[in-house]
């Protein structure tokens, strides 16, 4: 047996396997690759499970490490380690070579460019949860137990299913602008024209353009608010409603004094959940303006600084700021979530 040959074939084989796993060009190749990867994954996990299941009384830690080990390793590598590294880089310069202390944070809070980013983020996090929740609540009450309830809810919930990129395109088309002399193609400007108002560049004119971007997120999140609130309205105990009725409440009085107080915990969960989603909003700003025209928010600015300007220090700082802003919302959200579950 000539060992040169063996080595040659082993090299050739590993090269082939690596190429197969890393390079896929045609659609057919790609689909085969996806199926093979899933099959390989299942095979490896099955083998591991079969191995630990063999002895009559397997050791607890061995079984546990096969069951939980892969997931924990991936979490450690994909979340814990990067989070530590990013926090570290936020104290270094743009190439992560020189320690700069709090400089990046000072920049992020003091330079006028970033103050606009922070202002916009505050505007988003304030307006989107409140308006989406308010509209969702009103709509849930209005369509509850009507003949068209199912259809009505489907229509408003639908935007939750599509991508934010898709939603951004839908709204960019609504805001489309043509000069006043030619026919409008954007619906909103056509409405203005019908009312004899000059067409507007909704996406370009600062600072109002922020509001028109915010509308897109409200449009997406209202369905979420409506669904959760509708469920908790139905869970209001009959006797409370009866008591309200005996007190002579109906219509708006009922809504204010019975419905809203009864679903308070659910309202707070919805508000904080939407606030969290809004804080991290990236796709809408990126797709509609790319963060130009004074519309950037923290999550988008993170991307711009990290990948367009290659400023790792500042990018990391913005990511950490995002992280720190999310924490109080999450803590509050989890606490209220417990209350909602206790009530149910």
């Amino acid at each position: 047996m000539d060992w040169e040959y063996v080595r040659y074939y082993v090299n050739w084989l590993t090269g082939e396997i690596r190429d197969f796993l890393l390079v896929a060009n045609s659609p057919g190749q790609k689909i085969v690759l996806a199926v093979v990867v899933i099959a390989l994954f299942v095979a490896v996990m099955a083998l591991l499970l079969w191995l630990v299941d063999r002895p009559r009384n397997p050791r607890g830690w061995l079984v546990a490490s096969v069951f939980a080990g892969p997931a924990l390793l991936l979490i450690g590598f994909g979340l814990v380690y990067p989070a530590v590294r990013t926090t570290q880089s936020s104290f270094y310069d743009r190439t992560s070579t020189t320690f700069v202390g709090w400089d990046n944070y000072v920049r992020a809070f003091s330079e006028s460019e970033f103050q606009i980013v922070l202002r916009n983020t505050a505007l988003w996090v304030f307006l989107v949860p409140i308006l989406a929740t308010a509209i969702g609540l009103v709509y849930a009450v209005l369509v509850d137990r009507t003949k068209f309830e199912k259809l009505a809810k489907t229509l408003v919930f639908m935007p939750m299913a599509i991508s934010m990129v898709g939603a951004s395109i839908i709204w960019k088309f609504v805001y489309d602008y043509r000069q006043a002399s030619s026919p409008q193609t954007g619906l909103l400007n056509q409405v203005l024209v019908w009312f004899h108002v000059e067409p507007q560049q909704f996406i370009l004119s600062q600072p109002w353009n922020n509001l028109f971007l915010i509308v897109v997120m409200i449009w997406i999140q209202t369905g979420f608010a409506m669904t959760i609130l509708s469920a908790s309205i139905r869970a209001i105990p009959e006797d409370i409603i009866e008591a309200g009725r005996l007190d002579g409440l109906s219509g708006i009085g009922m809504f204010r004094h019975i419905t809203v107080p009864s679903i308070r915990p659910a309202l707070i969960v919805v508000l904080t959940t939407i606030a969290m989603a809004t804080l991290k909003v990236f796709d809408i700003v990126r797709t509609m303006t790319g963060g130009n025209f004074g519309t950037s928010v923290v999550a988008n600015e993170f991307y711009t600084q990290s990948f367009r300007y290659n400023d790792k220090g500042l990018g990391a700082t913005l990511a950490v700021i995002l992280f720190v802003l999310v924490i109080p919302l999450v803590v509050y959200n989890v606490r209220q979530m417990r209350k909602v579950e206790e009530i149910r």
Partner: protein, 303 residues
């Protein structure tokens, strides 16, 4: 309620529900309330309808005037979709395949891993279990942004850039904390007596996991699978970071977002492209609405 139930107990409940229904119907007979509901429903639908109609109009018509003009001049075509899917400059069909290839492993792998881990946290006794579980729970809140640059550096070092692996791995890792947490909650709800009985019969952990728990978990798995499917299918940030500018790997969302920048006025392409990327989520949504809503609610904290 069956007919054999004494009417005495049935009466107050039914009358209560009826009274409530009448009350509500009375309120809705208020024309302003109905009007408000209709206005919201229309506002939430019209933007999508506008783009959908546009995607079927001939290119010349789209540039000539607004989509509402189809009422007076109804002309429709599939040319936009043909051009968007197969035209050399957009070739969204390729990106559609990319999205599919990105999505499938990114759904199957994290759910399988999370199921196993959730089982370990729920039913296997081992040292440090509670601490690890709390840690996993807490990690749900790490924003993806915090992880991107170190991961990108690592993938490049391993020579994985340009392949599907960075996207698959990232989606898998980002899904795990939430998936483990949710599935663990479902597993804890299963009566311990079932697991005990199987154990007395001599079943090991693997057997208990597959024979006893898995069949009971199907609805939970379906809900999370749909949530994860839509999350990956609709994702922009992860794929832009790890597959941006790579036509061989980049999914639809990345390509379409790019088209908005480079061909922002070609509405015949953008409208068709947007619906090509939305059709699958919408079908999933309409056909599996019940699971979908449950999944959306469960996953609302993610990312």
């Amino acid at each position: 309620m069956t007919t054999s139930t004494p009417p005495v107990t049935a009466a107050p409940i039914t009358s209560g529900v009826q009274a409530r229904a009448t009350k509500l119907r009375k309120r809705l007979s208020n024309p302003w309330a109905s009007l408000a509901a209709v206005v919201i429903a229309v506002l939430w639908t019209i933007p999508t309808v506008g783009l959908l109609v546009t995607s079927f109009r001939p290119e010349a018509d789209i540039t000539r005037n607004g989509w509402w003009n189809v009422v007076t001049s109804p002309r429709f075509t599939f040319a936009n979709y043909e051009q968007a899917l197969f035209g050399g400059q957009t070739s969204l069909a390729n990106y559609f395949v990319n999205t599919l290839v990105v999505t499938l492993p990114s759904v199957v792998i994290p759910i399988s891993l999370a199921l196993l881990a959730a089982y370990a946290f729920a039913w296997i006794d081992f040292k440090g279990r509670d601490f690890l579980f709390v840690a996993v729970f807490a990690l749900q809140i790490v924003p993806i942004q915090v992880t991107l640059i170190p991961l990108l550096t690592q993938y490049n070092q391993w020579g994985l850039s340009g392949s599907f692996w960075p996207v698959w791995l990232s989606h898998t890792m980002f899904a795990l904390p939430l998936a483990i947490f949710l599935l663990h909650n479902f597993m804890k709800d299963i009566p311990p007596s079932l697991v005990e009985a199987a154990r007395v019969d001599g079943a090991g952990h693997v057997k208990i996991f597959f024979r006893v728990l898995m069949p009971l978990l199907v609805p939970a798995i379906a809900s999370f699978a749909i949530f994860q499917f839509l999350w990956v299918w609709n994702d922009l940030l992860v794929s832009l970071t790890f597959a941006g500018g790579r036509p061989n790997v980049a999914p639809l969302t990345v390509r379409i977002a790019e088209m908005v920048g480079t061909r922002g006025n070609d509405w015949f392409l953008l409208s068709a492209g947007a619906f090509i990327s939305m059709i699958v989520p919408v079908i999933v949504f309409l056909s599996l609405q019940r699971y979908f809503v449950r999944g959306m609610m469960a996953g609302s904290v993610k990312g």
